[in-house]
């Protein structure tokens, strides 16, 4: 279960109390004994399947290409030759690894910050302020979430090419700077987590509208904003479709590095796999640090339900 503390953070005190009560009831009801070994064994298999493909890249990365061509699993433990592959990938002139890493970092960071800021701003307005057209605008926002805007790539490409942005990362950043679901998410969160009394108090104290937003709404939105930013970061980091169209290998993202590995070194599988692990590594590190919050974010909705 999500810890009560996390629940309190994400869903407010009431939900936390509910969760605590539910947990207590579980204990009393006795329906929730510790599960048996079979459960752990099955989960272990699931975990193995989740992790194995990544481990597999390490294995292939440590093996000789000739061996890979002859054996499904050339060896069972990775070894030091893995680092040779890393070094080759990093120093390859065809790959532009550092540039790709920097580009991915910039794109993911800038778009996450922007999505979080604009979504919080709009979510605050939708949740707590009254203005003409609020209802229709919100319904419109939600409706757009069901629309596959990805299919507008051709005019988007024409647009980017007209303003000379093809091949530049601005072309990837701009379309990802706002997200309908982010607005929806923050609206939902703030309408529950931010009491009107706080806003009123700030207004009575003479705070301007923006000051109220900054000093009252922004702090209240922090937990949800963090999760939103995290999701957007992962999403942008792993995105391929649009970058593959509008960027090229001289100014790539990390997902394009995977593509050029495929194109340039498809015969040398150990190099390809070493490179793929290298490309995946930054997000794995991020996941190790904030994976708990990512899990909590995905599950946050139901705790409130």
């Amino acid at each position: 279960m999500t810890s009560v503390a996390v629940t309190a953070q994400t869903a407010g005190k009431r939900a936390a109390a509910d969760a605590a009560r539910r947990r207590a009831r579980r204990a009393i009801g006795g329906a929730q004994r510790r599960p048996g070994r079979l459960t752990y064994a099955l989960l272990g298999i699931v975990l193995l399947i989740s992790i194995f493909p990544l481990y597999f890249t390490l294995l292939l990365g440590s093996s000789d290409p000739v061996e890979i061509a002859k054996n499904a699993v050339p060896q069972w433990l990775p070894d030091g030759s893995l680092f040779d592959q890393f070094a080759t990938v990093i120093s390859s002139t065809q790959i532009n690894f550092w540039k790709a890493l920097a580009n991915s970092l910039i794109i993911s960071t800038v778009t996450s910050l922007s999505v979080v800021f604009f979504s919080t701003l709009a979510g605050y307005a939708f949740a707590k302020l009254r203005f003409r057209g609020r209802g229709p605008l919100l319904v419109f926002t939600i409706a757009t979430m069901a629309v596959p805007v990805q299919l507008g790539v051709i005019p988007l490409y024409i647009l980017m090419s007209d303003i000379g942005w093809v091949g530049k990362i601005q072309a990837v950043i701009l379309p990802a700077m706002a997200a309908a679901f982010g607005v929806f998410w923050m609206t939902q969160y703030l309408s529950e987590a931010l009491p009107y009394e706080l806003i009123e108090a700030a207004r009575v104290d003479g705070a301007s509208m923006f000051r109220t937003f900054r000093s009252v709404a922004l702090p209240a939105a922090r937990p949800a904003a963090f999760m939103l930013g995290l999701f957007w970061f992962v999403q942008q980091w792993t995105m391929y479709f649009w970058p593959s169209i509008v960027l090229n290998n001289t100014n790539p993202t990390l997902t394009l590095v995977v593509q050029s590995l495929q194109a340039n070194y498809f015969v040398d599988y150990s190099l390809v796999m070493g490179g793929i692990f290298l490309v995946t590594l930054p997000l794995l590190v991020l996941f190790a640090v904030v994976g708990k919050q990512l899990v909590a974010g995905i599950m946050a909705g139901a705790v409130k339900g």
Binding site: A127, F131, V149, I298
Partner: protein
């Protein structure tokens, strides 16, 4: 409501001061303007950006689709529906549609079943629960292109891991890159790998919202674990199942990354046996033809298809949630659960295809609109 009243600085004077003159000061007028205009300023960045990068391209796609339009040459003559006629006359287009549906079915159905099973395993009083939950989410942080490259190797026709494993149980090697259905299974496996754990967490969240009293009642009625699962858990999380199916539909019809990395050329094999419609679109626009007009026609056809299926989904969902209305308590809870999951999943869910600008399709199909302005509950 106090929020809406303009700021008034109360005069702080001792003694019976004369009433301040009834003059609307500059700061007061500014304050009123602030209150009136601020909400629009706050929502406008989103709408402006969405208009430029989402709405305009989508509408303009229709415009491009009725013109001769070339990647290099730019806009040409108005040709009416000719591009559509050409696209619909191409066997490759129909083949790509069939491939898309086949891969979609192969990825969504096993995925939902597996995810529910994993969620049921996780929905127990586990030791180190967070560890297991994080474990199933690991594939989610691996980029689909990387997943595709790794699985492309495991599904190699010769000396691939999967074929070797099949050999151990005495099954002949499968031509993952030559047999049409086999290639669809391989690609669907990549999609499933990345999304099953993610969806399992959504189902887990739904399962934890099921009132424990129902299980207690089931136990009293003599139901075993399996019976509890099918008679209590599954009906209770039905709304979430529908929601997950809807989101995976929107994404599943736009599979691109996995196909691009499945072989060296990335265009669905020599006979286009695993080319999806979005890959076809890409090929028409940026491949050999460089025909933006025709590609736009493909985009628009696919758009209509996705939205159409979304609408059907929505109607089905609404019917199901309406029929729940007779069992008042359950239905309200379920509706709330759907909103909650819409929220959670919308936030988290880029569609399996790996999304592009403008953000992932989210929860709009779920019966959310009546909860869109929760502030009014107060």
């Amino acid at each position: 409501m106090a929020v809406l009243s303009p700021t008034q600085s109360a005069p702080r004077r001792d003694g019976p001061a004369p009433r301040p003159p009834r003059r609307v000061g500059f700061s007061q007028r500014l304050g009123r303007w602030d209150v009136k205009v601020s909400p629009y300023l706050y929502v406008s960045p989103f709408f402006v950006l969405f208009a430029i990068t989402g709405l305009f391209p989508l509408v303009y796609t229709a415009y491009v689709s009725v013109h001769d339009w070339n990647l290099l040459g730019g806009q040409g003559d108005f040709v009416g529906l000719q591009n559509y006629a050409e696209v619909l006359g191409q066997p490759v287009f129909w083949k790509s549609l069939a491939n898309t549906f086949s891969i979609f079915v192969l990825s969504s159905i096993p995925q939902v079943i597996l995810a529910i099973t994993i969620a049921a395993l996780l929905d127990q009083n586990l030791r180190a629960a967070t560890f297991w939950r994080m474990g199933v989410l690991v594939p989610y942080v691996v980029a689909p292109v990387a997943v595709s490259m790794i699985f492309g190797r495991m599904f190699a026709d010769q000396y691939g891991l999967i074929n070797e494993l099949l050999g151990i149980v005495g099954i002949d090697p499968v031509g993952w890159h030559s047999d049409r259905l086999a290639s669809h299974v391989a690609i669907a496996t990549m999609v499933n790998f990345r999304w099953t754990g993610y969806n399992a967490l959504i189902f887990l969240a739904a399962m934890q919202a099921v009132p424990r009293e129902l299980y207690e009642a089931a136990v009293i009625d003599g139901a075993g674990r399996v019976r509890q699962f099918f008679s209590v858990t599954v009906p209770q999380i039905r709304a979430t199942v529908i929601f997950v199916v809807i989101t995976s539909t929107i994404g599943g019809l736009q599979i691109f990354d996995e196909v691009r990395m499945f072989d060296a050329t990335g265009l669905g094999g020599p006979d286009k046996d695993w080319m999806t419609t979005v890959v076809y679109l890409y090929d028409v626009a940026w491949g050999n033809q460089k025909d933006f007009g025709r590609a736009s026609a493909v985009a628009w056809l696919l758009f209509v298809l996705v939205v159409g299926i979304g609408m059907v989904n929505f109607l089905v969902t609404r019917r199901i949630s309406t029929s729940d209305g007779r069992r008042a308590k359950v239905s309200r809870r379920q509706t709330r659960a759907v909103v909650a999951h819409a929220r959670a999943a919308a936030a988290a869910a880029p569609p399996p295809a790996g999304a592009a600008p403008g953000g992932p399709p989210g929860a709009a199909d779920a019966p959310t609109p009546h909860r869109t302005t929760p502030g009014e509950d107060r």
